[in-house]
Symmetry: C2
Subunit: 280 residues, 2 copies
Amino acid sequence: MKDISTTDAPVRVACCQIPVMVGDPLGNRVSARAAIQAAADAGARIIVLPELANVGYMFDNRAQLQAAAETADGPSVREWELLARERDLVIVAGFAEAGDDGLVYNSAVLVDKTGRRAVYRKAHLWDREKDNLFTPGSDAPPVVDTPWGRIGMLICYDLEFPEWVRIPALEGAELLCCPVNWPLYPRPISERPTEIVKVQANATVNRMFIAAADRTGQERGQDWLGGSVVVDADGFPVTRITLGREAMLLADLNLGEARTKTISDRNDVHADRRPSLYAQ
Amino acid sequence: MKDISTTDAPVRVACCQIPVMVGDPLGNRVSARAAIQAAADAGARIIVLPELANVGYMFDNRAQLQAAAETADGPSVREWELLARERDLVIVAGFAEAGDDGLVYNSAVLVDKTGRRAVYRKAHLWDREKDNLFTPGSDAPPVVDTPWGRIGMLICYDLEFPEWVRIPALEGAELLCCPVNWPLYPRPISERPTEIVKVQANATVNRMFIAAADRTGQERGQDWLGGSVVVDADGFPVTRITLGREAMLLADLNLGEARTKTISDRNDVHADRRPSLYAQ
């Protein structure tokens, strides 16, 4: 399974750290399009946008969210498909998804030049998302073969459940693309935000690249971290961390490196697991 | 379960970052004793020593290890019991354990003033440990009630398996005491060793304190990181990281803080898990 997809050529990955605003769907669509085009112009082939990039985050209530949510073939996803086809890109973006079942999901979509490849619905909801806004997904995160490697998706708070991160990792994801919206919290001076620390740990215990695209811009009094980061399979950031402002982070990754899970002559981060011992 | 043991008074925890040498059991015992006494003199009530503190690490072969290993009531553990009784301490220390079954385990013991409370056998073996030296343990890590809080134990490479760390965390461990022997590996300038990053992530996803006691001292050509650290329940180090040299790290912890798993109005790091979705 591990050898079917990737070449050994590096691919440029972009995290688009952009503002998103509740109540401005057209503005959000324009921002996302501009960011994708700028990243493609800079040579990126895999482009990650923040969580809920079509709608923003600070909803007053369910009705407002429901009115803004789009189906998985709505205008935002269709525009991303078009851009992916025109420029031969893989785009992973977060969006508020109006499900066929009348429920709203905090979702991510992966599109490439062939169209929509997979949708993932966030399984671990954060704070007010639980408050009659979103319904949690219960399907395993998909892993998609692309010309540049096997790509998985998770969304924000999902990254705080290492058991959940294992699923795409064990399915052979070489790069995990993660739309996030990280609220700004206090932390000790000189300490890196633990959101980034958790990304690093998830990467290294799985020998898997992770690209997390965070948002920026104050929104209804909420400050956002702006902590986008690309981490290599050893767990080290390969992008400059650019907190709190709009940014495009670029990294050239050889995703094939993540096919090797070996970390010593006798150790393999996945083969060394002892699942029969792990309690749920 | 969560309210039976701890008080809200802070307790001083020490990680003793000391050299350990293969082939010098008496020297190792003297070093451990001196470190425990110095930590107790400095007011520590919970004292963590490195992995394999009685024997060192760089064994030539099984026979050499077998000759050096001690039973769980051998001279090293008995000395630690004596010191714990004399000074009213909790001591967690790594030791090479000669099992009743004739096998050798890479173990940790927890002793307090009442004597030996628990032994844990490392379940995930690192590199040459697998090479006809140690047998991996298969028992879940114990969690022990002490006057200062509920304490769990894991050993070194165990910390790279977040599923395994969950077990003592879900059993209510407020402090995880981890004897480690972290070999020195190259890393990017200005990056913290990922061993420490993984400790931080394990702490924050469980809201649990972690005290990792690393060794130091070159041993048969092997350099050691000397990366001992105490991390709080938010995942931030509360000790100065003192790489590569002998050190005693002290931290005053209110372990009761780890009983609260809440991280937002609607989030709890343990209750938010969705174990039925997690594959093994």
